[in-house]
Every structure is written in structure tokens, then in C-alpha cells.
């Protein structure tokens, strides 16, 4: 058999084939390119549509709330319905107290559980706990609310700031656990080995070398968790309950910013709506300041995980 040589005739056939194909391709390619451009433009429009509600919410918050947020808002007590003015001093302090209670309970548990998960990475129990921590994180906050009510309100027959703090702590634990675990995994093994080689015991290595190296990252995780729970309402309505008077006692019902916003927003009074807008602006400001602070804490740590 000899290799088929292209005769002039065959060449002509192939050429016409090729030209046809090229013409076709040129025609469809134009269409396909146009379609591609349109779809890419659509994804861009999707991005714009997605951030539109955010911009609208921010705009309304600032427009409606800025006028009411003043010195008074932070220092005065709420006024009864129908009276203009007043502030949310008790709710702002209350949120601080409830979040502090939650942090005192949730941070140590979360950090140590995270240490455990990072150090026993492959143990079967660790795998199970990691999974359950995600499950706990996915539970609706209202379920944590009724849980805390059943455990801490029903037996004692009255609402308390402590019960609210515990409900928020249950929300906080999985967040802090996973953040801690991730940060500790970023610490190079060589640091741990160096400490052990210098004669440090395992537990001292973990606490004073590994944990300390990961500390900025853990602070970031903790701040993000705090920002998350500070805005929660559902776990508090049946536990901390709210209070229209000044109270800082952990065993008494206590006011909190998100609850106050909820109560005012669902009321029919315009004065209270104005207060709700102002409260929402303050709450969002608080949450954003904490989140941004968290980002900066991470930035100063940049480079830790690079090797």
C-alpha cells in the first residue's frame, strides 16, 4: 500500500470542505461569542442585583436613623409610646452584658474544643465532634432559644440575663471551635517540634507556643463570633426577655438592642419606628466595627500560614 497522495481533485474537495467549515464556524462563532458576552454581562447584572438590597438597606438605615442617633440615644432611657425622644441606654448596656456572659462561657469551651480538634485531627472522636459542631452551627437560633428557656427559665420560673447569655453561648461555641481549629492548623509543625526539642512538655508547647502563635487568628474568630451573636434576637426573647427599665443584674430580665428593635418595629407608633431605625443603625454599626476590627487582626497576622 502506498500512502494516498492528494490528487488535484481531492484537494479541491477538501478545500471546499474546509472553506465551508470555516464559513460555518465564522458564522456560528460570532453567534456563540455574542451569547457568551451576553451571559457574562448577565452574571455582572446578577452581582449588581445582589448588592442592591444591601445598598438600599444601608441607605434607609442612615436616612431614617441618623437623625435620631445622638448623644441622647446612648444615654437616655426609652420613653413611653407617644412621647418623642428618649434613647436605648438600657438596651445597649444590656446587649453588652448578655454578650459578655456568652463570651465568658463560650470562648473557653470553644478555644479548648478547637485545640482538641486540631491536635487529635484524625481521631474518630474528633471527626465526630467536628461534624457535630457543624450540626450545632446549623441549628436555628430559635431552637436554642426554646432550649435555654426549658433549661434555665422554666425551672427557676423567671427570665434572666444569664439564660440569654447561655443561649448565645451555645451559638458561639461551634463558631469559635472551628475558627480556633483552623488557626491552630496554620501554625507550622516546626514550631511545635522546636518547643518539644527544647524540653517543653506537650501541654506547655500547646498553650504557650502553639496557642500563642495562633492567638491573633483566634481573636479574629472570636470577634466574628461576637459580631454574629450580638445581633441575635430569637434566642433572647424567651430567655433575657427584655426590660424597659435599667437593669444590669444577671439574674433579672434584661433589655437587648435587637429585641428592642423588634418590639419597636412591630409597634404601630411612628416615634418608636424612628427609635427602631436608630437602634438598627447602632446595632449594624456595632457589628460592622467588630467585623472590621477582626479583619485587621487577621491582616497583622498575614504570612503566618505562608510556609
Amino acid at each position: 500500500m502506498t500512502a494516498p497522495s492528494f490528487t488535484a481533485q481531492r484537494r479541491a474537495v477538501w478545500r471546499s470542505y474546509r472553506d465551508q467549515l470555516a464559513a460555518n464556524t465564522a458564522r456560528t462563532l460570532g453567534r456563540r461569542r455574542l451569547f457568551s458576552r451576553i451571559m457574562i454581562a448577565l452574571t455582572f447584572i446578577a452581582a449588581l442585583v445582589a448588592i442592591l438590597p444591601l445598598l438600599l438597606i444601608l441607605w434607609h438605615l442612615i436616612r431614617q436613623g441618623a437623625a435620631t442617633v445622638g448623644w441622647q440615644f446612648f444615654t437616655r432611657m426609652p420613653k413611653p409610646a407617644g412621647e418623642a425622644g428618649g434613647g436605648m441606654a438600657n438596651a445597649i448596656v444590656g446587649t453588652g452584658i448578655v454578650v459578655a456572659i456568652a463570651s465568658v462561657i463560650g470562648l473557653p469551651i470553644g478555644i479548648f474544643a478547637g485545640l482538641y480538634l486540631a491536635e487529635q485531627r484524625t481521631a474518630r472522636l474528633a471527626t465526630a465532634i467536628r461534624f457535630l459542631s457543624d450540626v450545632l452551627n446549623g441549628l436555628p437560633s430559635i431552637v436554642l432559644g426554646i432550649f435555654a428557656w426549658g433549661m434555665l427559665v422554666r425551672p427557676f420560673k423567671h427570665y434572666s440575663a444569664l439564660a440569654g447569655g447561655m443561649a448565645l453561648a451555645a451559638m458561639m461555641i461551634p463558631l469559635v471551635t472551628r475558627a480556633t481549629e483552623e488557626m491552630i492548623r496554620l501554625v507550622p509543625v516546626s514550631m511545635r517540634e522546636a518547643a518539644l526539642a527544647l524540653g517543653y512538655t506537650k501541654w506547655r508547647t500547646s498553650l504557650s507556643i502553639v496557642l500563642r502563635t495562633a492567638a491573633p487568628g483566634i481573636v479574629t474568630g472570636a470577634l466574628i463570633a461576637v459580631a454574629r451573636i450580638a445581633g441575635e434576637t430569637a434566642p433572647l426573647i424567651f430567655t433575657a426577655f427584655g426590660n424597659s427599665f435599667w437593669s444590669v443584674s444577671p439574674t433579672q430580665p434584661i433589655a437587648a438592642l435587637p429585641m428592642q428593635i423588634y418590639n419597636y418595629a412591630t409597634s404601630p407608633y411612628d416615634d418608636w419606628h424612628a427609635q427602631a431605625w436608630a437602634g438598627a443603625l447602632v446595632l449594624l454599626g456595632l457589628v460592622l466595627v467588630i467585623s472590621v476590627a477582626a479583619r485587621f487582626a487577621t491582616r497583622s497576622r498575614a504570612g503566618l500560614g505562608s510556609d
Partner: protein
């Protein structure tokens, strides 16, 4: 400097002394095993708080909801009679509302969220990616009650005055069952809209993560075969990422099912099943939020706890499925 570092010479051990080498082993190592054991016990103990907490939650809601579940049996989930005075409790409208509002939210949010994720991970130039990604993430940081406030004071009036009349009068869809009845502002539709905004950042974040796990070779192969940029996404990247994206969507569903405050504020809280999206409804979470503090008799409390138990089970199932899907895709992509 180098003077400080004495060369380490291992001292000869006294013969016959297996363990007792007090002179050369620093004192703290003597206690090492004890300290390590305490440390290990402590961290394990703190880690065990998580399963313990879950068990406690499960026990509490099921134990407290048990009287209602045994009293009404399966009818608790199928009856729509909810009368605290007569002591009849059926959660069907709340279950229906939870499902419908969540599905509506998914329907609205999924295309947008996937679109955003594709744009951010594939097409956006750097200078535009950072701010848009930041803003989308910011959506997840806004507290639920702030969404609710905006929803009830801005979005609901807008829907009542513009969207509903548009659908009914301009599009003449007023007789269509989905849009029938008087145009209330607070409605299932409003709840679906606010939920869509709230779950969008979650779906989009997971989708971006999954798209990042699609190997470069997949994209390069498609482009080399002559695909346009969109064909590369549609034919090569998305099929690869499909189950991960589905996982993200289901994760969003989990969020939507349990979302409480914002929904309570805009859904209208009416215990009735209505085919129309423009009618008020109820969800399981908002039912609890609304009535729990006012529940006076034990059976009422127990019924609400039973609703909570249902929510507990459903969200766990949904989350487990979602995490499994995401994990599977991320693992498949991570290897290549």
C-alpha cells in the same frame, strides 16, 4: 554569642538505673506525663461539651414536646386547627409556610447567587471583585432583625403599593391562584423575598468555594477545544461543580427554614393555608417566636416545643445532606 551554646554531651547513665536519672532530666519532665494527661483530659472534656449540648437540646425539645405529639399523634402535622383556648393544635399551616417561603427564597436566590459566584470567580477583574465580594459578604453580617425592620417598614409597603398592583392590574394575573385574594402587604411573597436576600450570600460563598476547587485543566481543555468563555463555564466548569453547588443551595435552604425574626416581621402571621403567595402565612420558627412568650397552658407550650423539635430534625437532615455534597465535591477537586 556562640559562647552561650555549650556543646551537648550526653552524660553517661549510672549503670543499672532504668528510670532514676534525676541529675540530668530537668524537673518539669518528671511531671510531664501527668501534666499532659490533665491537658488531654481537659481539652477532650471541653470538646465533649459540643455533643453533650446537642444531646441536651434534643432531649429538651423532644421531652417538652412529647405531650403534644402523643396527644395529637400524626394529626399534629396535618391539622390546621390551632386554637389555644380549645386546646387543639395542628401545625400544618406553619409547616406549609416554612416549606413554601423557603422554596420561594431558593427560587429567587439561587440563579442570582450562582451568577454572582461565577462573575466573581471567573470574570471579574480584580479591582471590581474585591469590593463586590466584600459587599456580598456584608449581606451575611446584617442581623436578622435589621432585615426585618427594613422589610416591614420599606419592602412590605413597596410590595403592597407597586409589586402587587403590577401583577394584578398590569399583568392581569389576579385570578391566577398564586396571586389571588386581597393584596395584603405582609405575605408569603414578602417572606420569600426577604429570605432570598438573606440566604444569597451563603449560597454564593459556597458556590465560589466549589468553583475554586474545579481544576484549571478542566477550563483549559474546554478553551483549547474552541469553547467560548461562557461555554467553558456552562459545559466544563458547572457540571464538575454541580453537586457542590447543590450542596450550597441546600445549605441556604437550611438557613431559610430556621430563619426567624425577619420572617416573623413580614409574613403576617396568620394560621391558614392559602395557595396565594399574596396572602399572609406562618412558618414554624415564626410561630414559636410569636406565641411562645404568651403561651399560658402546658399543652400550648408543649405544642410549640414539638414544632421546635420538628425544626430541629429537619434542619439537621438538611445540613447533613448539604455538608456531605459540598465535602464530596471539594474532596474530588482537591486531589487534582
Amino acid at each position: 554569642m556562640s559562647e552561650d551554646v555549650a556543646p551537648f554531651v550526653a552524660p553517661a547513665l549510672p549503670p543499672g538505673s532504668g528510670r532514676a536519672t534525676p541529675a540530668i532530666v530537668p524537673a518539669h519532665i518528671e511531671g510531664a506525663s501527668f501534666g499532659d494527661r490533665v491537658y488531654r483530659l481537659a481539652t477532650t472534656g471541653f470538646a465533649l461539651v459540643i455533643p453533650a449540648l446537642l444531646l441536651l437540646i434534643a432531649w429538651e425539645v423532644f421531652h417538652a414536646g412529647w405531650p403534644a405529639l402523643t396527644r395529637f399523634g400524626f394529626g399534629f402535622f396535618t391539622s390546621s386547627d390551632w386554637d389555644a383556648v380549645k386546646g387543639n393544635f395542628g401545625a400544618a399551616p406553619a409547616i406549609y409556610g416554612t416549606i413554601v417561603s423557603s422554596l420561594l427564597a431558593l427560587l429567587l436566590a439561587t440563579p442570582l447567587a450562582v451568577g454572582v459566584a461565577i462573575f466573581l470567580s471567573e470574570f471579574a477583574p480584580n479591582w471590581i471583585r474585591t469590593p463586590i465580594a466584600f459587599l456580598v459578604d456584608l449581606l451575611a453580617a446584617i442581623p436578622s432583625v435589621v432585615y426585618g425592620l427594613w422589610g416591614v417598614l420599606v419592602m412590605v409597603p413597596f410590595i403592597r403599593e407597586h409589586v402587587m398592583p403590577f401583577v394584578k392590574d398590569t399583568l392581569h394575573l389576579g385570578d391566577f391562584p398564586l396571586f389571588s385574594g386581597a393584596a395584603y402587604g405582609p405575605s408569603m411573597f414578602a417572606a420569600g423575598c426577604i429570605l432570598a436576600i438573606m440566604i444569597l450570600p451563603y449560597i454564593s460563598a459556597v458556590t465560589r468555594e466549589v468553583l475554586r476547587a474545579v481544576p484549571r485543566s478542566q477550563r483549559e481543555a474546554a478553551l483549547a477545544l474552541g469553547a467560548t468563555r461562557w461555554e467553558m463555564i456552562w459545559d466544563a466548569v458547572l457540571p464538575y461543580a454541580r453537586s457542590g453547588i447543590v450542596g450550597g443551595v441546600i445549605l441556604g435552604l437550611g438557613r431559610a427554614l430556621g430563619e426567624t425574626m425577619a420572617v416573623t416581621m413580614v409574613i403576617g402571621n396568620r394560621h391558614e393555608i392559602s395557595a396565594s403567595l399574596f396572602q399572609p402565612g406562618y412558618t414554624m420558627a415564626s410561630l414559636i417566636a410569636n406565641e411562645f412568650a404568651e403561651a399560658t397552658n402546658d399543652l400550648h407550650v408543649s405544642s410549640l416545643m414539638a414544632v421546635g423539635a420538628g425544626l430541629f430534625v429537619v434542619t439537621i437532615v438538611v445540613n447533613v445532606v448539604a455538608r456531605w455534597l459540598v465535602w464530596r465535591t471539594a474532596r474530588a477537586g482537591g486531589g487534582t
